[in-house]
Each structure stands twice: as structure tokens, then as C-alpha cells.
């Protein structure tokens, strides 16, 4: 029994190390992962804006915080030459890195502001401000699906 759990632990540790190594070597995969979390949180928040789910301040705080954290993480995962594999990152990112970094920082700030929203009236404009950053970046710097 003890041997078995030790074995499982070793396996988990190996897998964990492998995935860390993978994301460290592969910023495109790592930022994609971060953006998937942003996308999932955005879906929950969007449903609330569309009237497909009731407004809940705690849900807003939780998801907006996730977005702020993950955007901060993703912002550091765009080293030059990392438009590899299935990445949809356009070369324009590195031609206009300062503009790109600013949109990412503005997006994180908008998500942080959204996390502090507690009343429904302020919710849609705050979500809209965040969404405009998502859009500004995607319009310019994300290629069509492959």
C-alpha cells in the first residue's frame, strides 16, 4: 500500500515536472492555457451581461480576479519568435511590442476594476471596458483560426 502510494506520488511528481518543463519550453502552449482560463471566466461573465444568468457579485469577483491573474501571466509569455505550432499570434505583436504590452496591461487593469464591482448597474460598462481590450488585441494581433 505504502509502496503503491509512493509510486503514485513519484508518477505525479514526474508528470508535474514534465508539464512545467513543457510550458517553460513552449510559451505558446503556456499562454494558450492561460488564455483558455480567461476565456472560460469571460463566458461566465458574458452570460450575466446577456441576461442568460442572474447577476452575482461574488461570481464577478472570482472570475474577474482569474482574468486579471491569467492576463498578467500571459503577458510575460510572448518572447520574440514564439509564434510556433498552432499559435495564432501575428508577427505584428513583435513589430509593435509596446502597443501590445499596453493593451495587455490595460486589460489586466480593467479586469482588476471589474473585480471590485458589486452592483449590477456598473457591471455591464465595466465588463465592456475589459471586452474592448480583448477585442482591440484580437482584432490586431490574433490571426484567423488555422
Amino acid at each position: 500500500m505504502q509502496m503503491r502510494s509512493l509510486g503514485l506520488f513519484a508518477l505525479a511528481a514526474t508528470l508535474g515536472a514534465a508539464s512545467v518543463a513543457l510550458t517553460a519550453d513552449d510559451p505558446a502552449a503556456a499562454r494558450h492555457e492561460a488564455m483558455e482560463h480567461v476565456g472560460d471566466a469571460m463566458k461566465t461573465l458574458g452570460a450575466m451581461a446577456r441576461g442568460q444568468a442572474p447577476f452575482a457579485a461574488a461570481t464577478v469577483k472570482q472570475n474577474a480576479t482569474t482574468i486579471a491573474d491569467r492576463l498578467g501571466e500571459a503577458a510575460s509569455l510572448f518572447p520574440a519568435g514564439s509564434a510556433t505550432g498552432t499559435s495564432r499570434a501575428k508577427p505584428e505583436i513583435w513589430a509593435n511590442k509596446a502597443d501590445f504590452d499596453k493593451i495587455m496591461a490595460d486589460g489586466k487593469a480593467a479586469a482588476t476594476a471589474l473585480a471590485a464591482v458589486t452592483d449590477e448597474a456598473a457591471y455591464r460598462p465595466a465588463l465592456g471596458a475589459l471586452g474592448q481590450n480583448c477585442k482591440a488585441c484580437h482584432d490586431k494581433y490574433r490571426a484567423p483560426e488555422k
Binding site: R50, L127, G131, C134, K135, H138, E145
Partner: protein
């Protein structure tokens, strides 16, 4: 073969070659006559403005990003438009008499939109999507022209198209039109469908020209009507344009109301499929349409199987 027969054959070949060239030249001639007798019409500027947004005219006819002093909210043209054929610099649509539409008559405008022929009697390349615009009602074209003529004048001359052998290719467009513009107008409403659906079908297919990117083209660059709005390669060369068929069964959108919200609010409401590949700018233009028109477009699109 005797020398005489040989020279006779050569002469016959040359003659038939010349005849083919003449036939091509005649067959490719731009139609310079009036598009039709224009109806007496009092222009509706609000309708013209809605059509301007439905067609996202501003997106292609925007000024170049680097151009200082040009209002990006006015369609003064000149931003590069890349296609597999070459790079185009769309025209200035403001009423400036020297560089824009200021001297264009109503007939000039209708002929350009419905037939793809310039006031100087030359073919436009179909990068200018007259293959879709020709389905617009003449009254709508006149409203759109009136709206454009109501805009502030901007003096800005866009560069000439950067297309290999441009003059010859331009004449060749006349031959392309004979196949590319088959199955002609008018737009015929479907009485079995709702008024909203019919409005949406008109907006999406005529002024909205969705099919210019969302319908795949064959080797002759003619849209494949059997795969209308079924998606295809991105015209700029990288990636895909998504299919607009089965949007609900494929769980892209819950229903027509959901899609209408996506067209109106895009990423502001967490819809992330409408950015990238140029669609982001188009969604920004569509968002300026009345909500009923967006719902109409959505009603039409979700009905496509």
C-alpha cells in the same frame, strides 16, 4: 505538308487567333450604358447610413493608418487591401470633387455598384464586391449615395492598385464577369419566411456581402453557390474563414437572439469568435445598425443548415 499548305495553315491559325482576341476584347467590354432608368426617389439618409454600416464600407475605405490628419471615421480610402490578385487601395467615398465621389452622378454610382464599371467606363476588380452589391435595390443605392454625399469632403487621392499587368487584367475582368455575375439580381424575397428573415437575407447577402469571404471560391475565383456561406480559406492567405451554417446545432450560438447580441456587443459581452481576420472591424461597423436589423441578420443566419 507542302510549303503552301503550311503557310495556309499558319494564316488560318493567325486569323483564328486574331478573331479570338477580337472576340475576347468585345466580350470583355465594360457595359457603359445607363444601369437602368433611375426611379424618381427622395433619398432617405437614415436608410443610407444603415446600409453604409451594413456593408462595413468604412472598413475597406478607411484612410491608411499612417496618414496624419485624415479622420479615421470618414471613408476617404487608401488603406491597403491585400488579395491573392494584388494589393488594392480603395477609393475615396467622400464627396470631394477632385479625389472622391463629388462629381459622380446618380447613374455613375448605380453603375459602379450594380455593374462594377467606373464613371470612366473601366471595369473594377471584383475585390470591390459589386457581385454582392448588384443585388441591392436601386432606391437603396440612391439612399447610400445620398448619405455618402452628406459626409464632409476629404481631399485624399488613393494610390493605384498594385496588380501585375493591371491594364490587361482589368480588361480580363470583363470575361470574369460573364461567369462571376451569373444568376443575377434582383433579390427575391421568400414569402414563406418572416419579414425579419427576408430583411436579414437581404442585408447579409446584398449590402453586407458576407459571402465575399464566407463563401468559398472555385479556381476562377467565382463563389461556389452550392457552398453558400459554408466558410473557406481566408482571402488574405493565412487561416480560415468560418462557416456560417449550422451556427446553433454546432453550439456556436444558443439561438438567433444570442447571435444578435454577439453582433451588437462582441467581446464586450464575452463573445470571442467575432474578432480576428478582419471580422472584429466588421462587427464594430455592424454594431451601429438598429437592433432590429441585427436580429434580422441573426434570424437569417441561424436558419442556414
Amino acid at each position: 505538308m507542302s510549303r503552301r499548305r503550311l503557310s495556309r495553315t499558319a494564316a488560318a491559325l493567325a486569323l483564328s487567333g486574331a478573331a479570338a482576341a477580337v472576340a475576347c476584347w468585345l466580350a470583355s467590354a465594360p457595359a457603359t450604358g445607363p444601369a437602368s432608368t433611375l426611379p424618381l426617389h427622395r433619398p432617405d439618409l437614415a436608410n443610407g447610413q444603415a446600409l453604409f454600416h451594413a456593408g462595413s464600407c468604412l472598413y475597406c475605405h478607411r484612410p491608411p493608418e499612417a496618414a496624419a490628419g485624415l479622420d479615421p471615421a470618414l471613408p476617404s480610402g487608401g488603406a491597403p487591401f491585400h488579395t491573392p490578385v494584388g494589393t488594392f487601395y480603395p477609393e475615396n467615398l467622400t464627396p470631394d470633387p477632385e479625389t472622391g465621389l463629388g462629381r459622380w452622378s446618380e447613374t455613375d454610382f448605380v453603375r459602379a455598384m450594380a455593374r462594377g464599371v467606373s464613371p470612366h467606363g473601366r471595369h473594377y476588380f471584383p475585390a470591390f464586391p459589386y457581385a454582392s452589391f448588384r443585388f441591392m435595390r436601386t432606391e437603396d443605392l440612391l439612399d447610400l449615395r445620398a448619405y455618402l454625399m452628406s459626409l464632409p469632403r476629404v481631399r485624399s487621392q488613393p494610390r493605384a492598385a498594385d496588380v501585375p499587368l493591371a491594364a490587361l487584367a482589368r480588361r480580363g475582368v470583363g470575361l470574369w464577369k460573364r461567369i462571376g455575375l451569373r444568376g443575377g439580381p434582383p433579390f427575391v424575397p421568400d414569402p414563406a419566411r418572416s419579414a425579419s428573415w427576408n430583411r436579414g437575407a437581404y442585408l447579409a447577402n446584398a449590402p453586407g456581402h458576407c459571402g465575399e469571404c464566407h463563401t468559398p471560391r472555385n479556381l476562377l475565383m467565382v463563389p461556389d453557390v452550392s457552398r453558400h456561406l459554408a466558410g473557406g480559406p481566408h482571402p488574405a492567405g493565412e487561416g480560415k474563414v468560418p462557416s456560417l451554417r449550422g451556427l446553433v446545432v454546432r453550439h456556436r450560438y444558443k439561438d438567433a437572439a444570442d447571435l444578435a447580441l454577439a453582433l451588437q456587443f462582441g467581446e464586450s459581452y464575452g463573445y470571442d469568435k467575432l474578432s480576428s481576420g478582419g471580422m472584429g472591424a466588421i462587427q464594430s461597423n455592424l454594431a451601429r445598425l438598429p437592433a432590429a436589423d441585427l436580429r434580422a441578420i441573426a434570424d437569417y443566419l441561424v436558419s442556414l443548415e
